[in-house]
Symmetry: C2
């Protein structure tokens, strides 16, 4: 599949690269790296996303390459859709006339492209882009290497997740040789918090609750707290890792009251529990071990119906375990 | 130097391996890996530390190899001293008659051994032990690989610190091929918290204070809180990373009231500020970017005198910068 994509890249000249709404480190890093690689061999490339990239990622080299639009201003002959399980996740209007190259590492990918390169073994789409660039024989630049490294460190949770492989480390070694400074990237991604974020975290941690069996833990951020502190969209997103860091916890949740009676629920899991299935029940989606959804209702009701679904998943998993 | 050590290992049969008091992931991982490697080529090995290994590291394979003692029961002909800047950090009595092999990666190392292999470029002593095992031509086992991986991930802060090199990633790739499951090790080291730890963290974060210039930030844990929650020795140690994660902060501190008017101060820094120099002023020690000391006095006085030293270091750095 990789070879077919490489041939197509060599044959064509005008490309669009897009990714999912609320882009993360993997989508942003993969898009920039692919765009720079294509430009290096003289191709014309547009990089367009539905949402602007979060503040966090803006210090990454060439991040200004990514433009924001809902409606494409013309039909692109070939469009790369990166890190999307289904094409609607792009949020873009105007992809209909394009030849779609779908590059993804999610199990749930619906094979919506004309070419579908989906491998769940890849730790990040960034890893796949590295392999593609290597196959094309394009020499890396420091900016390309930084983008791929940012994609990988984000999607492996600093090499903590089960998708981290020997190949992942091999690539990172190469990326350092091409100019990546791991501490500089970590500084941008993990040590550039606003003081406010750390203070709110203190408040939010006091809301920690754990199911009597110790397998489900959750945090809650009430609207008044979000309103008072006004953190940016992505600033409180990773708080869900704190309940997840507790021994024995298999599913962790963050209930964030976005508006009165409207909750953004973030879910994380370890191992076999598929939280994307749970989020899908409420019209959300995501990955096997990380997902999210929006649920309407008062806090007690929202919490109850979501936790019921989590308990069902835990029960189902127990039944299917050997 | 590595070659001389390899020759000595081949020539001798009876070894002691020790490390510093309050052992961390690098000392524990390096000790276990070296012990297993020596045993694999038929050597007699004792692994002895002053302090028992923290609960956190006990699930690591073969961690029970490490015995605890203050006084050595006999004179060992050859003793490896790992990860110690000076020999007194071992806390052991009875090393006097031994031929000392000093293996370390700290700049301040006093070259106290008969052989001194000190390279500040190594991300961890575990990295040096990997190189030594390779030079000896000893085949890795899964337990050896896990130990080295634990050493590296600890001393690089999950590959976030500036000591992370291409060689570090090359080694990790090899370790995965020899059986390391990165997610399993991360689970042990980072996702096995007691719920209590997360709750206290909430309380502690509310104590966050930041110097008006935004370069120094600190947290405080009062004795009554430690007393009430009774966390284990190492459980609150890493709270100091939270002030450190704030943008612009160059030095972060954690003041922990161990007893009335007795404070354990943990210091972390970014870049050029050497916090081991600051800790040394109060009879403590440590690394360039991570150190600690004990200071007596009431809270306001302790805080004042320690912050004064930090400010002096910041001023000195500013003067010496190009």
């Amino acid at each position: 599949m990789k070879k077919r994509i490489a041939e197509l890249i060599r044959a064509r000249d005008d490309f669009l690269i897009t990714s999912h709404q609320n882009p993360d480190g993997d989508s942003i890093g993969s898009q920039i790296a692919l765009a720079l690689a294509l430009e290096r061999i003289g191709k014309k490339v547009s990089v367009i996303n539905y949402h602007p990239i979060p503040t966090l990622y803006r210090p990454l080299p060439q991040s200004e390459k990514i433009r924001v639009s809902k409606d494409l201003e013309r039909v692109y002959p070939v469009a790369f859709v990166l890190e999307c399980s289904y094409i609607e996740r792009t949020g873009l209007n105007g992809l209909e006339g394009s030849y779609i190259i779908n590059i993804d590492h999610h199990r749930q990918n619906t094979r919506f492209g004309h070419i579908n390169w989906v491998t769940t073994k890849a730790a990040a789409v960034g890893e796949m882009i590295y392999d593609l660039i290597e196959l094309l024989g394009i020499e890396l630049t420091s900016a390309m290497a930084c983008s791929i490294y940012a994609a990988i460190i984000t999607d492996t949770g600093s090499f903590h997740y089960s998708n981290t492989s020997a190949h992942t480390f091999d690539i990172c070694s190469e990326l350092v040789k091409w100019g990546v400074n791991p501490a500089w990237i970590a500084d941008i991604l993990y040590y550039s918090n606003q003081a406010e974020k750390i203070k709110i975290l203190g408040e939010v941690l006091s809301s920690l609750e754990i199911d009597p069996n110790g397998k489900i833990a959750w945090l809650t951020i009430p609207e008044k707290s979000l309103h008072y502190h006004q953190p940016s969209w992505d600033e409180t997103e990773d708080y869900v890792v704190f309940p997840q860091s507790i021994k024995g916890v298999e599913v962790s949740l963050l209930f964030k009251e976005m508006a009165s009676n409207r909750y953004k629920v973030s879910l994380r899991s370890r191992g076999n529990i598929d939280v994307s299935e749970i989020a899908e029940k409420f019209g959300g989606g995501g990955h096997h071990n990380a997902s999210g959804c929006l649920v309407e209702g008062d806090y007690l009701t929202v919490r109850e119906i979501v936790l019921q679904q989590v308990k069902k998943s835990l029960k189902k998993q127990k039944l299917t375990e050997p």
